[in-house]
Symmetry: C2
Subunit: 385 residues, 2 copies
Amino acid sequence: MMKKVLVLGAGQLARMMQLAGTPLNLDVKALDVSSNKVVHPITPEQIYGDLAAGIINADVITAEFEHVAHDILDECEQSGKLFPKSEAIKIGGDRRLEKALLESCNTANAKYYFVNSKEDFDKAINYLSLPIIFKTALEGYDGKGQWRLKVAADAEAIWQDMADFLNASTTVNQGIVAEQMVPFDREISLVGVRRINGDVAVYPLTENHHTNGILTVSVAAPINTKLQEQAGTVFKALSDKLNYVGVMAIEFFQVGDQLLVNEIAPRVHNSGHWTQQGADTCQFENHLRAICDLPLGSTALVRPTAMVNIIGEDTIPDEVLAIASVSVHWYNKGKRAGRKMGHINVSGEHELQLAQRLQNLADILCPKAFPDLNDFAKKYLDKQS
Amino acid sequence: MMKKVLVLGAGQLARMMQLAGTPLNLDVKALDVSSNKVVHPITPEQIYGDLAAGIINADVITAEFEHVAHDILDECEQSGKLFPKSEAIKIGGDRRLEKALLESCNTANAKYYFVNSKEDFDKAINYLSLPIIFKTALEGYDGKGQWRLKVAADAEAIWQDMADFLNASTTVNQGIVAEQMVPFDREISLVGVRRINGDVAVYPLTENHHTNGILTVSVAAPINTKLQEQAGTVFKALSDKLNYVGVMAIEFFQVGDQLLVNEIAPRVHNSGHWTQQGADTCQFENHLRAICDLPLGSTALVRPTAMVNIIGEDTIPDEVLAIASVSVHWYNKGKRAGRKMGHINVSGEHELQLAQRLQNLADILCPKAFPDLNDFAKKYLDKQS
């Protein structure tokens, strides 16, 4: 009765899928794309020598990241086992395709212009007006591959830097997407899931906080229903358009009452890690249910829950575990500055209790390792009190 | 920073410890006591050839069942890594030692008499009066190794059966404990945890229902605080006396306002599986925290939650997963009549919702495989409405 799942990518998302899938009798293995070996997502054990064997031995294939080489995606697609389809994964990995998708669904997003030459660059500035953010079309993540142009005087230098980057890049078909920098109120994201039969379920919206371009804190709590509906409508439109299967995350900028799509991730997402403790069914289980064609689990909020990323640290004080409703999730990765090493989920019966516990957490954690946490917790607590 | 844990026993409890321990960066391996091989608790992968290698490669050793051979326990104890200590595990595996412990702590329990001969048998009947339940001192579980004597006319036949059993038994030091059959109102259990430093935390009491001697349903919901206090006091007394480290379960008979200890399990327990979805920290994580000398996690009830054992079946209808707040946990064991193959956790915001969902579950599951569930759900729902 055991179903075998192969995940393209052997990082923390494959790891958490394995943990969520095991109770459902799913056997989750992972493809380490750098070595082309199929490995156990928790132990470093190698299972098959190559992708071909991994494909043959899988019932279902999925991806934990969108920057999978297209030949790998194509090979998996040919087996008929890949969910979501390679098209959706490729769109998530290319900002130009992403923009085209948003246009085709009439989904609000920041005004943009594609840049491949100095001429495009100048046209983009004219068309969009400053400030503008330039992002690589391919392979950007965690704020990497981005340039911010705020004043005209910097244009020449930034173009030079971008041109050097493009010239040096070995990535085939690399390009730049210029985007109007939107003065947004906050960044929020929606994690949702779609089953093969078209069933859709979305989690409550999550408010996200970044430090140096990397997500540091996400908070899920009862939220503005109008925004939730708006986001849900976008999710439905995009996922239906793609005939999507699995979990997909949509990052939004909130500008007043409006949501602009920032980007789409065709996979389980860091801003959905709170679901492990705060939702009825976690995003990892729901992704697996969807791709294995099982009924979707309820996405209801059980308790207001925050997630704090552990970045560049491989240890935190034990006292963290003494705070009620704190769960620590390590990824067992080698320590490296800026690397996501784990995360901490904190829940409360209500938002005030959550805020208090978050403050307790900030008081214990080293401020050098969690630079913005104390400030965030203080503000959040003030808002609740 | 990874701590290595070896579990004596490679069944579902070791499996669920592995799943709960991985996020905490604990590397949980299991000793298959029948083959003396150290294996991965999820995959069947063999890791070390024997116990000695397992001991050397572990930081901490624990047990998933109390019937571990004493030479194995002694070998582990000598390494200084075994938690709880072998004494506690041995007590849990021998009803005579268990009774002696209860006496030494003045803990209320059913009146009893040890039986090794026909003479003892007759004395037991005199001392206890009918009805009496006779239980093997060693190796009894899930209602196995028990005889019920209700009318004097059956005494001779039951003694013959017991004498045959004792003669045929290859178990060293086997014996019988005769117990007064208590006309109890219900069976409840307390799962608690104690850290090396003496910190204790207990979960809410669970009401247990058995079918043919096997636990079939446990329900955890807000409960009589007086009983909870009484049970907590017993837990504290027994676990302090044993200098216990880890999770321990105590099964009680409730007789009016009084709790009589039925038996003690020096380990994570089937009646605590609901904690995976219904408590702040599940029993598996708390056991690991305790034996690794980490702060205990909160044992607070998050939501009223019931657990339904899947017995002798290796499949259930997919529609079960469509019920909100249902989690299915399979153990990946070969199908065998009467075998615990998995369990289903169901939660509700309040008991009425829980009862409704339990009824939905009973409506879907095959009554042949879950014979008492529908009846239980109906009564529970009636009580809430």
